[in-house]
């Protein structure tokens, strides 16, 4: 596991996919938040966080993800996580994050899930 978390993103319409690679601690969390806030301030509606290449998110990293979630909720947007390891999935559910952010097995599922629902 790499000690520094690499973060990259891609905008697809009003959805942003953010990929992480490595340990999400305070630095990794802040890097994700920076990336997320840039896109949210530019009008992105939905964030998909793909954590496929992350095996540990510590509680400091999670606290920053909660701040991102709050900002998304303030903007009436959507936050989804995907490709979580069973341990990260379990941790997010223990904390109740799954009540406010969707968790999907794959990126494709997440992208389908954040599409606006037609009436």
């Amino acid at each position: 596991m790499s000690e520094t978390c690499k973060v990259s993103s891609e905008r697809r319409g009003d959805v942003v996919i953010i990929w992480t690679d490595g340990y999400i601690n305070n630095q990794g969390g802040e890097e994700i938040a920076r990336e997320a806030y840039v896109h949210l301030d530019q009008g992105a509606r939905a964030l998909v966080l793909n954590l496929e290449k992350t095996r540990i998110v510590n509680s400091i990293g999670i606290s920053i993800l909660i701040e991102v979630l709050e900002k998304v909720m303030d903007k009436k947007g959507v936050l989804a996580f995907c490709a979580l390891t069973p341990t990260i999935d379990k941790t997010f559910r223990i904390m109740g994050l799954a009540q406010y952010a969707e968790i999907y097995p794959t990126q494709e599922d997440a992208l389908r899930g954040v599409e606006p629902q037609s009436a």
Partner: protein
């Protein structure tokens, strides 16, 4: 092993836990749970313990129950100021949303991920003993 109270030293500790977990054939997911619990125990001590010797003392043990279940145990000992467990509030996301401070989840995460946990604390410091069965 002893690690200094310094950024990312918790990751150094997890390598030891992973090696021992692999040695007894523990699944990768269970090893990840031990690693995260250990990370949380270390960063709790880094942030709150005010260790007099600026170090954390870690002991790793492998064992087997009489009926054969193998386990990996990790002890995290700090020589800090200690804490009263009764003062630790059970966290919830609703409380976290309402609070400016988003922290306070470490012990809850440790308790949820490990099979057995024992915490003792006093003015000599804090000892967290965590066990995970294979």
């Amino acid at each position: 092993m002893t690690i200094p109270v310094a950024p990312e030293m918790e990751i150094v500790a997890t390598a030891q836990a992973a090696a021992l977990g692999e040695y007894i054939g523990m699944s990768r997911d269970k090893i990840d749970e031990v690693k995260l619990a250990l990370v949380e125990a270390c960063i709790n001590a880094f942030e709150h313990a005010e260790c007099r010797d600026e170090q954390l003392h870690l002991t790793f043990r492998l064992g087997r129950e009489p009926k054969g279940r193998e386990w990996l145990e990790v002890e995290v000992l700090d020589r800090g100021k200690g804490f009263d467990q009764a003062d630790v509030e059970t966290p919830s996301l609703e409380k976290t949303f309402a609070s400016h401070r988003k922290r306070g989840w470490g012990l809850q995460i440790i308790k949820s991920l490990m099979d057995e946990i024992d915490i003792s604390s006093g003015d000599w410091g804090t000892r967290i003993l965590m066990r995970k069965y294979k």
